[in-house]
Symmetry: C2
Subunit: 669 residues, 2 copies
Amino acid sequence: MSSMGGSADENLETKEMDARSVSSSHGQEPYVHKVGIPPRQNLFKEFQATVKETFFADDPLRSFKDQTKSRKLILGIEAIFPILSWGRNYSLTKFRGDLISGLTIASLCIPQVLDFNSCLEKQDIGYAKLANLNPQYGLYTSFVPPLIYAVMGSSRDIAIGPVAVVSLLLGTLLQSEIDPVANEVDYRRLAFTATFFAGITQAMLGILRLGFLIDFLSHAAIVGFMGGAAITIALQQLKGFLGIEKFTKKTDVISVMHSVLSSAHHGWNWQTIVMGASFLAFLMFAKYIGKKNPKLFWVPAIAPLISVVLSTFFVYLTRADKHGVAIVKHIEKGLNPSSVKEIYFTGGYLGRGFRIGIVAGMIALTEATAIGRTFASMKDYQLDGNKEMVALGAMNVVGSMTSCYVATGSFSRSAVNYMAGCQTAVSNIVMSIVVFLTLQFLTPLFKYTPNAILAAIIISAVINLVDYKAAILIWKIDKFDFVACMGAFFGVVFASVEIGLLIAVTISFAKILLQVTRPRTAILGKIPRTTVYRNILQYPEATRVPGVLIIRVDSAIYFSNSNYVKERILRWLIDEEELVKGDYQTRIQFLIVEMSPVTDIDTSGIHALEELFRSLQKRSVQLVLANPGPIVIDKLHTSNFATLLGEDKIFLTVAEAVAYCSPKLAEDP
Amino acid sequence: MSSMGGSADENLETKEMDARSVSSSHGQEPYVHKVGIPPRQNLFKEFQATVKETFFADDPLRSFKDQTKSRKLILGIEAIFPILSWGRNYSLTKFRGDLISGLTIASLCIPQVLDFNSCLEKQDIGYAKLANLNPQYGLYTSFVPPLIYAVMGSSRDIAIGPVAVVSLLLGTLLQSEIDPVANEVDYRRLAFTATFFAGITQAMLGILRLGFLIDFLSHAAIVGFMGGAAITIALQQLKGFLGIEKFTKKTDVISVMHSVLSSAHHGWNWQTIVMGASFLAFLMFAKYIGKKNPKLFWVPAIAPLISVVLSTFFVYLTRADKHGVAIVKHIEKGLNPSSVKEIYFTGGYLGRGFRIGIVAGMIALTEATAIGRTFASMKDYQLDGNKEMVALGAMNVVGSMTSCYVATGSFSRSAVNYMAGCQTAVSNIVMSIVVFLTLQFLTPLFKYTPNAILAAIIISAVINLVDYKAAILIWKIDKFDFVACMGAFFGVVFASVEIGLLIAVTISFAKILLQVTRPRTAILGKIPRTTVYRNILQYPEATRVPGVLIIRVDSAIYFSNSNYVKERILRWLIDEEELVKGDYQTRIQFLIVEMSPVTDIDTSGIHALEELFRSLQKRSVQLVLANPGPIVIDKLHTSNFATLLGEDKIFLTVAEAVAYCSPKLAEDP
């Protein structure tokens, strides 16, 4: 026992062994199978297995096995550029699907990004109409990144480009560092720097195979976060929608509503409101049609484009801009200029850009991964999460050098892409070409597009992110998840995007920690007509065995819960003893711990078992274990606890353990 | 299915139901018991149960049940002051044990604290012989806190007072804020402030019933931390032991060794070394005797006192202090003065004191709780951890107002206390009285005590904290725990106490997170001559069922692992399909997921199951679940997954699930 404290309990054990041979001579016991001890593993092998399961759980090198060197090289290149692999089987039929879906997402994308972009720089339009901060950056971001992704990515359905939530987050974070009005060049440079590091973060997570880290943002947290972000974005649009000139820089609902209401008397422009409201009604109606009849999915998809064309034409004819209707005014013509030299690689902004980049990169990754996984499982193909991250990272690094902001997969456009029948990432290329043509030839036409229309498009787009049905389902399934969801939602709405994220992550972690700190325990009973023992709360018909208390521990026993588990078991025993008090016949003499769910145990856990054993000994209750798993039985042996307890007190099943205890009970006075 | 994505798989289900009724008409199946759904619980009740299990796991109000009001009041007062309860049964026999043990720990304590205290202010003796920073503060701390604890605490064996590790930690933290030489009044005031907040922290943790937080410092981390701290403390003693005058302020081994070696030629004092070394040999020999013969436990216990008396007398006679042997010189006579006015309740030091207090308070709590639990389990009495924290907190708050530093339970003195036969906390009162007499009458006698003797006592006391046997056992049982242990050890030795702590906590948390991120999965096989299915790695004799793959998931399915679990199950399937490739007879047609260890599932987990179900459907493999627990089956129903899957595909045991699958296999072409 060395330092772990057991002293002279060994003689007890031999006594028990005798008792056991006596009881088995009764011949009542069925065939008893020994609890297996797994073959001892080499330490290096064990370590290797853990590393593999942690970082290479998806076995990415499977296809490389047993191949020649040149074949391995080709496979390696194909792994980095999947287009080389699926491109070989590309056909005209597939292209038809990709063309249609590409055109559809382009028609949805162009109006959206014009305004997503204004999310990012929301106080510029209206405050300072600075040429180099206008919406063409959104178009740039819809041109380069989708091309890179098409070559390197492996999702067939994701639609790449700037998205509302990431734009909002990036805008909020950048603003807190640099005033975009006073310092607009620095602001833009910091945005590219952040984009660069967002890409680096994404690629590094993939290369280091740490992709599992984004799993720590739970589904519930994402639902809440997205809902909160959608409401924040929609509220921001009130500025364009109501034609308010002076607007708050903050994103929380209180500041925004204060801005809106305080400008009610003099700041609203009725022409703007009428125009915005009628097109919003049109967009919502188009959506409703699309929902009613899935075959008409293209109606909501092209409705934004129609709105933009109609409203632009209308403003051009009526010159409504003279009456206070804010318009886009000027979009730079031409392709993405290089921005390599604008990225801060030195100086004080380097660190800030790095920090912002990490946060924005992680959020962008979460969104893209969720989309990729959803559609991959719908079409049943596998996505290598870590490889996807490398593709997304490369895309953003290249983007940061070609005047793009952080791009990622868009939920709404990806869904439209899927429904329009996209086959491969070629649909992204098609969209990219359309954006290219727009940049080259059509940007002047957007001059008279009223901001109110863009606001209406955004409102109708983001409102879907408020997934109240999912929230209701989360409430039904898991109350703790719901708290995380609401925490994220209200955090985003009432404080800021970062606070919301922080709340969601904290609650999610707290949930994990609570589970490992206070694992459940259950009393088991025998289910009638079987030899199966189950939780008596779940199976009220299960009967207890007199004189035997069977307790199942529902978690690995670690330092964080070992003490609780020990004390909880003792409490069950005390409760039970009080119940049968006075009834000598059924005094508890055996305590069986069912260890099936105990997947692991550490040194603190072994300590707790020893203490439990000793406490039970003092009460003349015998401790019996049922079905310890491979790791647990191994540790029970190395720590000598198995010897202290008695090897014969460890059984394969609860039924066998009960069979061991029951005849002994009969023998007792 | 609402937003969770399932569309039109319901017709499949009815088909399956028919198949099921056909197969059961074969009459081959044994009695099949339905999987129980626990009775629906009221939301409030459920919440109440969770709160109770989390914060009131030990059911502290048990004894208050069904009592009259006045009885409840008495019980309440007794709960705060347990002395009222055990004091009634106090007897002369008990007092004899307490007297002997109290005298023994006092004789061990007085010499120790004289020097533990110098830990705290290690650069003062030698640098600046400042009267009000001398060792009497250690004696003060051994006088008041034990008295308070005796009245409020419930451990019968713990010996309260200043301890080495906490003194070291407090000293390091305080030094980093205030230079104890230049600013000695502020330094002392900050120490009292930190002590005050350490007490408040401890009491609040107890009152808020957050005591379980200290469980997050694992056994392994404590072993490493204590070992590292012991070595650091021992190295610090080289200053007194070698008679070095100029010594580093840092605690890491490199700085200390550099100090020691650079002073080798001119800074060492041979008289000091000879004296220190001989008494160290004497102390070690006394320890050896105590270990060889447990009945002579009092030999090592009084050896320090003998050393102090002998060496003091020797120095007094030879006036060795004139030859460079450093002595204690002056200890203030008299009882603890009030220090209420010295605590910073305002100003900049308030925050620092608060921060230091939290850290020191938590460490002190960890030590006291570990000691309390150990001895309580040896004598088999229950300790209410949260109540203990309130007692310890109150003791330190009172201490901070009576010129005491942070006090806690001492490992070595508690062990001596236990072996000397202590019965109740009265042994602490006895010790306290001895310290009182010392303070009142004996302090002048310590004037000539050489520092080298105090160093020798400390070295021989702390060296036991290096528990290499425990470290070896940890290595054997759990490699990850060993890494945490070594991280704490080397962090303390090579960097600082805080860094060591941080490393240990981080590694421990990483372990928990790894477990919930990458849970184990196992293939099950049938154990011959039973209907039991177990891990085929643990039981190599277990046989697989042809056409059926049985996988057990060894953890709750949460957002952090849901995706991994889904993909890992699919990978098992792919591996298995490759094995049986070409063999049409045994093509995998059923995948049974054994859910016994799946204690909980959240919304992400339900999603993952849905995705798994859909992927399997594409491969014409049927998903079957075995033995979902009460919470899981409840959630499977609320989320409608049970309907999607088919209620008839959920079984009580793996054996029943296999029985359902096997006849169907036979029917197949």
